[in-house]
């Protein structure tokens, strides 16, 4: 019997969202959709959270923040990218400082397309995420180390450092 699917606590981070998706995330917590029915609480503390909801794309400024929140969350955890911005950059994709979707810095488990994503779709994605959460919990309980793909940004780091070095020079 697993309890992780009965009490998923979420943390919500606004990347460079236009706030459209954020409002929809908050709408899920309001009386109309009331996700607390499923035991979902918005914690605001990565150390208490199981599900990481990211809205908006990742840019140079916030990529470390996203990574840090992800790393501070205890296993098992899942990441849900909400809105087309968080999936692949969306309308901001071509901007000079945008890296793209959330999966450019951390592994994402569920994607919610839409601009803005509907609350129903967000709840659906979180429920899908719970299935993955349960799998991860079992893997953890069996002592298998979760294979975390090394974030691409880490690979890109030396180049960046080199670039920064160039700029300074």
């Amino acid at each position: 019997m697993s309890y992780i699917t009965k009490s998923p606590w979420v943390i919500h981070y606004d990347g460079s969202s236009c706030n459209g998706c954020d409002i929809e995330v908050l709408a899920c917590l309001m009386p109309m959709y009331d996700v607390e029915r499923f035991g979902i609480i918005n914690t605001g503390n990565p150390k208490h959270a199981d599900v990481f909801l990211v809205t908006g794309s990742v840019n140079e400024q916030n990529k470390n923040v996203v990574k840090q929140i992800y790393e501070q969350m205890p296993e098992p955890k899942v990441v849900v990218a909400i809105g087309i911005c968080a999936c692949n950059g969306g309308i901001f994709k071509e901007c000079y400082n945008i890296l793209g979707g959330v999966d450019t810095v951390i592994p994402v488990d569920a994607y919610v397309p839409g601009c803005a994503a509907r609350p129903e779709a967000i709840i659906d994605a979180v429920v899908t995420g719970l299935g993955i959460l349960e799998q991860k919990r079992q893997a953890l309980a069996n002592g298998e180390l979760l294979k975390e793909p090394e974030p691409e940004a880490a690979v890109a780091a030396p180049e960046e450092a080199a670039e920064e070095g160039k700029e300074e020079a």
């Binding site: 697993s2 309890y3 992780i4 009965k6 009490s7 606590w9 009386p31 009331d34 607390e36 029915r37 499923f38 035991g39 918005n42 914690t43 605001g44 503390n45 150390k47 208490h48 199981d50 501070q72 205890p74 296993e75 098992p76 919990r137 953890l140 309980a141």
Partner: protein
């Protein structure tokens, strides 16, 4: 002696069940007050069992030890109380438990936890006078600090200690971490201080903290119960009904007040302690 052992074992086993159930009711009623459906009543149990399944992240090794001490001393407090021990001893043990929690938060060196811990200290400063006055009130009424003796009293303390009762209800809002004075853990306003005191606790440590709060809540409601005993069965019935009413009142207060600053918490609870508490104590000198 057998009675005492039974009471203590019953407390250790039943208190988390009752406490968790009350916490679930709290969340359900709160949701209904806000026009939501709310989680299942067993949700707090799911939460704690989930936390036990999670990975443990601790910032240092002593932190878990201190939280464990908090947990143990809260249980010891309740055991002393239900074993009919001295009320002052009970309250000082509770204070010791709170100190361990504060030290645990300070040890993490996290700014949020530290601000939370400082606020917790201020909260203690706010409620301690009223707690002591409550003990003294019981002593003046029954002539004993022993909970066992107070339980034997044939007159119901409530009508004589009504001011102290109201003052105690007032500080219960602080102890239950309810809205106007929910300063240190930021239960509702979690964006301001992240999670305050418990920011750095996760997994099993957090589960222990939650369970400790259930024990603590049951003990505090036991204190409320003490105001209504008169040695008869209907005294017990009135006591239990009133305990539930008190709990409902706290939920109502939680949902109808915005959070206040710590200055308000200290000033108001000291004013309540001085006005309701000491006036009641003086009255008791003449009435009794």
């Amino acid at each position: 002696m057998v009675k005492v052992i039974i009471a203590v074992i019953a407390y250790i086993i039943l208190a988390p069940i009752v406490g968790g159930f009350l916490a679930g009711l709290d969340r359900k009623i709160t949701a209904r007050m806000q026009g939501r459906v709310g989680p299942p009543v067993l949700q707090p149990f799911y939460d704690v069992l989930k936390l036990l399944e999670k990975e443990s992240i601790t910032v240092n090794r002593v932190q878990d030890f201190y939280v464990m001490c908090f947990f143990i001393f809260v249980i010891v407090t309740g055991c002393f109380f239900f074993a009919g021990e001295n009320l002052l001893l009970v309250m000082f043990t509770l204070t010791l438990a709170s100190v361990f929690l504060i030290v645990a938060a300070f040890s993490s060196n996290s700014p949020y936890a530290e601000v939370g811990a400082e606020r917790e200290l201020l909260q203690m400063l706010a409620y301690e006078p009223m707690v002591l006055i409550t003990c003294v009130g019981f002593y003046m009424f029954t002539g004993s600090f022993e909970v066992g003796q107070i339980m034997l009293s044939t007159k119901m303390p409530f009508p004589y200690l009504i001011g102290i009762f109201l003052g105690f209800i007032f500080i219960l809002t602080i102890k239950f971490r309810k809205s106007p004075f929910d300063l240190s853990m930021s239960h509702h306003a979690h964006q301001e201080l992240v999670a305050g005191l418990k920011t750095e606790f996760s997994g099993k440590t957090l589960a222990m903290l939650e369970a400790a709060h259930w024990y603590e809540n049951v003990f505090l409601l036991g204190m409320v119960f003490l105001f209504f005993v008169n040695g008869t069965w209907w005294g017990y019935v009135i006591g239990i009904v009133d305990v539930l009413l008190t709990y409902f009142l706290e939920i109502l207060i939680d949902n109808s007040f915005a959070r206040m600053k710590w200055q308000v918490a200290i000033n108001s609870s000291w004013i309540v302690a001085v006005v309701l508490g000491t006036v009641n104590l003086f009255m008791l000198m003449f009435v009794r």
